[in-house]
Structures are given as structure tokens and as C-alpha cells.
């Protein structure tokens, strides 16, 4: 016989569970663990989460949904002050790393060769390794071409790190003006005179 809880009790339990969890807590995990022996429907859990999100709207911490679930995080506007708690500065990433990561994020699944094609330079193994070590990317398969190169994709941890709930929340890719290329290149006036 599963236990029944009041809405208030449910809110308290969900709140505490998310707070003490080491990692973001998904609704699925919440149901499988904390709420395992409690009779509670999905809509009620959603409602409890919504109550919490609203409750924390005006506080120093906020409840947010990221790639792997819900977590509490400090209100972003407080970050400049909070960062003084730590001596070490957060790591900066090189342009090579960021460009590689951007290509994997927007063009996944993508092979190393395809990344190199766009960037016009070799992608160092260190970059790929460090991105894999950080659990931001992973090998999701191998492309059916000679050499069977690995196909890379971003992980849910990547979403957690950038506080996104899905890839759809990434900024949109800057627009390309393809229609203009043909037009301009075919325009004889644009052709330079030979030297």
C-alpha cells in the first residue's frame, strides 16, 4: 500500500530531494527513488515543481531545468559577487576548443574530418580528448565511410554545464546569405580586372 501525502508535503519532499542530490534530478529519477513508495501522479509532481519554481522566483537561488533534470542554482545576477568565494578563476577555453565544440553542438553527429573541413585546420587530439574528459561530447557511432571515423555528439552534461534544457536553446546559428553568393559571383562587374 503506497503512502499518500498532502500537496505541501510533496513540495517539501521534492524541494529537499533536489537540494541534496549531487546531480540534477530528473522527474523520472524522482519517481524511482524518493517518491517510490508514495502514491503521486505525474501532474501532481509537475505542479509541485511549478510551485517551487514560482516560490524561488524572488529568492537568491532559483529552481531551473537543465539537460539531466532539475537543480537549484544561484540567481545569475549575483554571480559577480559569488565568484569571489573561489580563489581560482573559471577556466577559459581556447578558440580552437570553442569552435570545435560549436561544430559538434550544431552539426552533430559529426566526424573529426568534417570539423577539420570547416575549420580548415587539423583538430588536435588533445581538444577532442579534453572535451570527452569533461563529458561534454561523446562518440555516438562510426560513420560508414572508409576508416570508419567516430561520430561525435554533445552530451546531457554539456547541456547541464551551459544551463540549457535542450539543444534548441542554443543561440541560433548566424545566418548565411547563400542566395547572394551566386548572384554576386555571376555578376561580371564584381570580377576583378586581370592584373
Amino acid at each position: 500500500m503506497k503512502r499518500r501525502v498532502s500537496d505541501e508535503q510533496l513540495v517539501e519532499l521534492v524541494e529537499a530531494a533536489i537540494f541534496v542530490s549531487d546531480k540534477p534530478l530528473s522527474k523520472k529519477r524522482l519517481k524511482e527513488t524518493v517518491l517510490e513508495d508514495i502514491s503521486v501522479s505525474s501532474p501532481r509532481i509537475d505542479q509541485a515543481l511549478e510551485t517551487l519554481v514560482n516560490h524561488y522566483q524572488t529568492r537568491g537561488v532559483r529552481l531551473v531545468e537543465v539537460g539531466t533534470g532539475y537543480r537549484f542554482q544561484a540567481c545569475p545576477s549575483l554571480s559577480p559577487w559569488l565568484s569571489k568565494l573561489w580563489q581560482e578563476k573559471a577556466p577559459k577555453y581556447s578558440r580552437a576548443t570553442l569552435e570545435t565544440l560549436a561544430l559538434i553542438a550544431y552539426r552533430q553527429p559529426i566526424t573529426r574530418g568534417e570539423i577539420e573541413q570547416v575549420r580548415g585546420v587539423t583538430v588536435s587530439s588533445n581538444i577532442i580528448k579534453s572535451l570527452i574528459d569533461r563529458e561534454w561530447i561523446k562518440v555516438v557511432g562510426y560513420k560508414e565511410v572508409p576508416g570508419k571515423p567516430a561520430l561525435y555528439a554533445t552530451t546531457k552534461q554539456f547541456l547541464d554545464y551551459f544551463s540549457l534544457s535542450g539543444l534548441g536553446e542554443l543561440p541560433r546559428l548566424p545566418e548565411q546569405h547563400n542566395e547572394k553568393i551566386e548572384q554576386l559571383l555571376n555578376d561580371p562587374s564584381v570580377r576583378e580586372p586581370s592584373e
Binding site: 529537499a16 537540494f19 541534496v20 549531487d22 537561488v61 537543480r71 537549484f72 542554482q73 544561484a74 545569475p76 554571480s79 559569488l82 565568484s83 573559471a90 577556466p91 577555453y93 578558440r95 580552437a96 570553442l98 569552435e99 565544440l101 560549436a102 561544430l103 553542438a105 550544431y106 570547416v118 575549420r119 580548415g120 585546420v121 587539423t122 570527452i132 574528459d133 563529458e135 555516438v140 557511432g141 560508414e144 570508419k148 547541464d160 554545464y161 551551459f162 544551463s163 540549457l164 542554443l170 543561440p171 546559428l173 548566424p174 548565411q176 546569405h177 547572394k180 553568393i181 551566386e182 554576386l184 559571383l185 555571376n186 564584381v190 570580377r191 576583378e192 586581370s194 592584373e195
Partner: protein, 264 residues
């Protein structure tokens, strides 16, 4: 930079001739130049820089002047003994090729003939797009730098060591059959020609475990779109690793997920 200094040392050798004068449009002191040259992320980046600096439109890629400047930069990089990636030289060759094609008269009858610059323009645009995307990505608030995750602690008196029950082989097989059933739905992706290597899969499992540095759930080792044979190879690799005592398997409760972890 004095005139005298410039005349003493040629800046570069271009087509066998010493370049004593710096290129007209370069106003960068040499010590700064080295820093700038090192920051280029490759030939496309250098080309974009040249185009932007002259406030030109990528779409109007002025191949003659750009080629000339590009080669000057590459020569300077060589001169400063910067480690020059082969890609820079490939691009120099490509630019020279486009240049020579531009010099050829256009065939009237071949209307479909594409502008020789088109492919390079497309690549430059694509690179520019992702260069921008990388900058945007860097702006997104991220954990450690802009986002601080809040935590609370559980009263330590409830903090007890989890106990792991033993698992029977039957349960391992049961878990396999579940994965098999799931793999079935992916069967149209079945790869027929490839002989999947058990040894390779064993390294993959070990690698995954080492990277994760914690127990990994059974199902995570399977790549479902490899079809049944892929699942079988992965499973055999697991058994092999368990037999060789390289990995061990645990289960947090009866009928809960099975985890693999590195032994020792």
C-alpha cells in the same frame, strides 16, 4: 621602426626576392605581429582577417590582392620561424590556382561554369558562421564561471554504506534480452559487412569505465543501431572482461539496473 632597420634585414623572401619594405598596408610592429600571427586559427581565419581588415565583403573576394597579402603573411610566418601548419601552404596553392583560373578567358558557351571563387567563398562563409557560433557559445552563462549550483547536505546519521546484493548470471542474461529486444527495433540499420571485434569492444568498455571513473549502467554500453550482432559483441566483450577479472558487476537492489565497474 626606423628606415635603417628595415633596410638592414629583409623582412621576407618572396618569389626569391628579398622584401625589404614592409607591405604598405601593414602598420603592425614586428613584436606585435608575431602575437597576431600566432592567434590565427588556420588559413581560413587568416583570410577572414585580411578581408575584414580591408572592410571587404567576403562575397566580392578580391582574389588578386588577397592572394598577394596572404602570401606575404605566410612568408612572414615562415620568416619568424613560427611553426607553420601545412594547411597554410595548401591554401596558398589554392589561391594561386583560383587566381590563374580567373585569368583565363571565360567560355561563352559554358554558361554553367562556376566562378572559381565560389567554393572558397562558401567555405569562408561557413567558417565565419562557426567562428561566430563559437563566440556566442562562449557568452552563454556556464557552470563555474557564471552559474553556481546550490546544494544542501543530508544529515550524516542517515549516510550509510550501500550494500550490493550478488547477481546471478540469469539476471545478467535477462538484462541482455531486454537490450536485445530494444535493438530489434533498430534492425534496419544493421551493418552487414563489418566484422565487429570483441577485443575492440572490450577496450571500448574499459575506456568508458575509465573515463566515467564510476560504475556505468549496463544498458549504456550498447549502441543499439548496430543491431543484434553489435549487442552480442558488446555482451561477449563484457563477459570476457568479467572472466579476465578486469571488471565487476553490481546491482543496487534486486531487479534494479546492473552496473559495471573497473576492478582493483
Amino acid at each position: 621602426m626606423t628606415e635603417a632597420l628595415q633596410q638592414k634585414l629583409p623582412l621576407a623572401f618572396l618569389h626569391g626576392e628579398a622584401v625589404i619594405e614592409k607591405p604598405e598596408d601593414l602598420y603592425i610592429p614586428p613584436e606585435a605581429l608575431e602575437v597576431i600571427l600566432e592567434t590565427f586559427e588556420g588559413p581560413l581565419d587568416l583570410l577572414l582577417y585580411l578581408i575584414k581588415r580591408h572592410k571587404l565583403d567576403i562575397l566580392e573576394l578580391p582574389i588578386f590582392s588577397i592572394t598577394q597579402q596572404y602570401v606575404q603573411y605566410v612568408e612572414m610566418m615562415k620568416d619568424m620561424q613560427l611553426e607553420l601548419a601545412g594547411e597554410y601552404l595548401v591554401m596558398a596553392a589554392l589561391l594561386a590556382q583560383i587566381k590563374s583560373r580567373m585569368l583565363l578567358p571565360k567560355h561563352e558557351e559554358l554558361e554553367e561554369e562556376e566562378d572559381p571563387r565560389a567554393e572558397l567563398v562558401r567555405r569562408l562563409q561557413e567558417y565565419e558562421q562557426f567562428k561566430q557560433a563559437a563566440e556566442n557559445l562562449d557568452e552563454i552563462p556556464r557552470v563555474e564561471r557564471d552559474i553556481f549550483v546550490a546544494h544542501a547536505l543530508v544529515d550524516s546519521s542517515t549516510d550509510n554504506e550501500p550494500e550490493f546484493p550478488d547477481i546471478e548470471l540469469r539476471e545478467l542474461l535477462l538484462a541482455l534480452s531486454e537490450v536485445m529486444a530494444r535493438a530489434k527495433t533498430f534492425e534496419h540499420h544493421h551493418i552487414s559487412a563489418e566484422a565487429l571485434s570483441t577485443r575492440e569492444r572490450m577496450s571500448f568498455i574499459l575506456q568508458l569505465l575509465r573515463e566515467q571513473n564510476k560504475p556505468v549502467e549496463f544498458a549504456r554500453f550498447f549502441t543499439l543501431d548496430e543491431g543484434r550482432s553489435g549487442v552480442v559483441v558488446t555482451f561477449i566483450a563484457m563477459l570476457e572482461l568479467i572472466k579476465e577479472q578486469l571488471v565487476d558487476y553490481i546491482q543496487s537492489a534486486t531487479a534494479a539496473s546492473i552496473y559495471l565497474h573497473l576492478k582493483g
